[in-house]
Symmetry: C2
Subunit: 395 residues, 2 copies
């Protein structure tokens, strides 16, 4: 009567979304100050002021049809020019507007790229720990999900496991740095090592293996850390980007796919992306926000606020005895569960009003994710609950 | 290396989009006043004033995170309440917010519903003439596209052909009234006849056959014509709606799916829709416009302006000798090609700057679509070209 797999996907919400919805209900029942919601990557820092000013200026000065009319399916030319120029300036990329396809956020970008690349049950490799929806996106586009474990000491890429996991059916590898959920930023050395492995395997199997680089956190880094720009290290790179985090616009669903000019048979890969977007019902990305992005492409979010949260939370939790590595980017802390089953741990946390997500669906059982893109004061208020929680394990 | 079918979809743009892109280039070369672009259903009537006022008020008075944050995947509760209440008031529907799923436009809604319903190569029936993307949407979601011919005299539904086309593999029928491209509004009698056939066949095959009602033109009707509300006639009805045409917001990609409360196993069908949305990468519909819709759900577009276009174009073209039926709704005129091959006819039109779309991809070879959601003055200016064109066939 209906598609059982879709029904299951609809009924079993992601662990993150499940907790987020629970938090909303619980806050209504108990009062918002009794719930410490660290579940969702919903930016707490407001969008830069330019966004508001640009929105009002656009709405005041333009005609309805120029603001709200259809754009070309790949996005308005002016916005694609702005995106390409910005990337060229920042990273020495050599992109033209013809390399850019504007999307309804990074999730749409990923689904479109996966559908564009997948011929028939191709394998897509994901490096743990990873954003759980990757599995949903790959499988819904008919691909085969394959995960590679990580080095437990520092959440770095297990390079030999990556190399061993590649087969003749491998079509691509999803790379996500700064990483959700670990906050790790891959070093230049790591990126070069990944490129080397993929080049070797591409040659061995006589076909391109793509890097699909999911980069919503590219600008969210601390302590002056640099994020290597993958296109500069590996030719067959396709970027999926979102302005959700960098401009605090997650609900507006605006992002882009950038296909490196050095991708083999670039024109046809780009055409396949256009075709996949069409087939999935993405007529064009929201038009008003395409214009906003054109004007605000280089606006900057206030990273200092996340940094303050990071320092407070990392500092205090470490002092209390929680084990975790210091995150260099994104806005997540990935802590080791003090007991084997992180689900049980997170349930205990929930009893204290602390909403944190078990690592199982991130491919990292025994860990838990804390999204610190929240109000600083809430973090402060939550600390006694974190303290009580860890003390239960020290009895 | 990439998906050949997607590549083909990306390289062969729809006939409509192809012509639209051509028009933009041609207008640059020749001057906009030499091109009469009737290709695209891009509303010429501006969005109602309330939209602009509401946008400015929302942006001025709300916080960034309440405007631009993630909403629940099925859409903000307040907006779903507004949509359900509006439908209940207008049509006596008995919908709750739990029946509504807010989408990134009707195209997204259709793809999501098709993916939610399709189990394995299920057949979806489309009544000619039809919006060409239906074929793309059905096939991209793994379904089998099946078309039913129409009655040439008045573009009405060929009921016996519909009945004969239903098999044990039929999962649903896409109904689109007011119709793109014919402008026909199905009468209550027609709707009842369709319902009767589907009820009979559902019983015969012991399974529900869904009506997927694509209704972006529901409010665009003339001469006081009434559009029967399908949920009131057939239980297993799922509506895909868009505010693209009714509020002139096509680029903003905002619409909804409404699942009738009487759909068999409604809860699981709704869950499958949520799951399909998730699998296709639709995290949520654009958040700012969800709020706009909540406030402006019953705003009205100025249908009188389209009506004026309709009367001018239909009147003048009929006088010149073009054969077409008087459209009751939407903003398309579907004319009979004066020569057998409408592609050749449309090419001749193109030579005169008239951009009109051959009917072949609409499942109606020998016809051509004229979208009259354009500037009234442009229609006036185009009339001599239409006259010249028909005269070529009278020599």
């Amino acid at each position: 009567m209906y598609n059982k797999k879709m029904c299951e996907l609809g009924n079993c919400r992601s662990a993150i979304r499940e907790l987020f919805e629970y938090g909303k209900i619980r806050a209504k029942e108990m009062g918002g100050d009794k719930v410490y919601d660290f579940s969702l990557g919903n930016p707490s820092v407001p969008a830069p002021n330019e966004i508001k000013e640009t929105l009002i200026q656009l709405i005041t000065e333009n005609t309805s049809s120029s603001l709200h009319g259809y754009t070309s399916a790949q996005g308005a030319l002016e916005t694609r020019v702005a995106i390409a120029c910005s990337l060229n300036k920042k990273y020495g990329a050599e992109l033209c507007p013809e390399n850019i396809y504007i999307t309804v956020g990074a999730a749409a970008g990923l689904c479109i790229v996966l559908k564009a690349l997948n011929s028939a049950n191709d394998e897509f490799i994901v490096l743990a720990p990873f954003f759980p929806e990757y599995k949903v996106f790959i499988e819904s586009q008919g691909g085969v999900f394959k995960k590679v474990p990580f080095n437990e000491s520092d959440f770095s890429v297990n390079l030999s496991a990556l190399e061993n996991s590649i087969t003749s059916k491998t079509k691509g590898v999803i790379v996500n740095s700064p990483n959700n959920p670990s906050g790790v930023v891959y070093s230049e050395e790591t990126v070069k090592a990944i490129a080397k492995i993929l080049n070797k395997k591409s040659e061995e199997y006589k076909k391109p293996i793509y890097i699909i680089s999911d980069e919503p956190y590219r600008e969210l880094v601390y302590d002056g850390k640099k994020v290597p720009f993958l296109m500069n290290y590996y030719d067959n790179t396709i970027i999926c980007y979102s302005f959700s985090k960098s401009l605090s616009l997650p609900g507006e669903r605006i992002g882009y796919v950038a296909v490196s000019g050095k991708v083999e048979d670039q024109k046809n890969v780009y055409a396949s992306i256009c075709g996949a977007g069409r087939g999935l019902g993405y007529v064009c990305a929201p038009s008003l926000f395409q214009k906003v992005i054109e004007k605000c492409i280089d606006a900057k979010t206030d990273v200092a606020e996340y940094d303050r949260n990071r320092k407070l939370l990392y500092g205090e939790l470490s002092k209390m005895g929680y084990e975790c590595i210091r995150p260099d980017g994104a806005f997540y802390l990935f802590i080791k569960s003090p007991e084997k089953d992180a689900n049980v741990f997170c349930d205990k946390a929930k009893q204290k009003g602390l909403l944190i997500v078990p690592g199982d669906s991130f491919g990292a059982p025994g860990y838990a994710r804390i999204a610190y893109c929240v109000d600083y004061e809430m973090i402060k208020r939550s600390l006694p609950a974190f303290k009580e929680l860890i003390l239960e394990y020290k009895k």
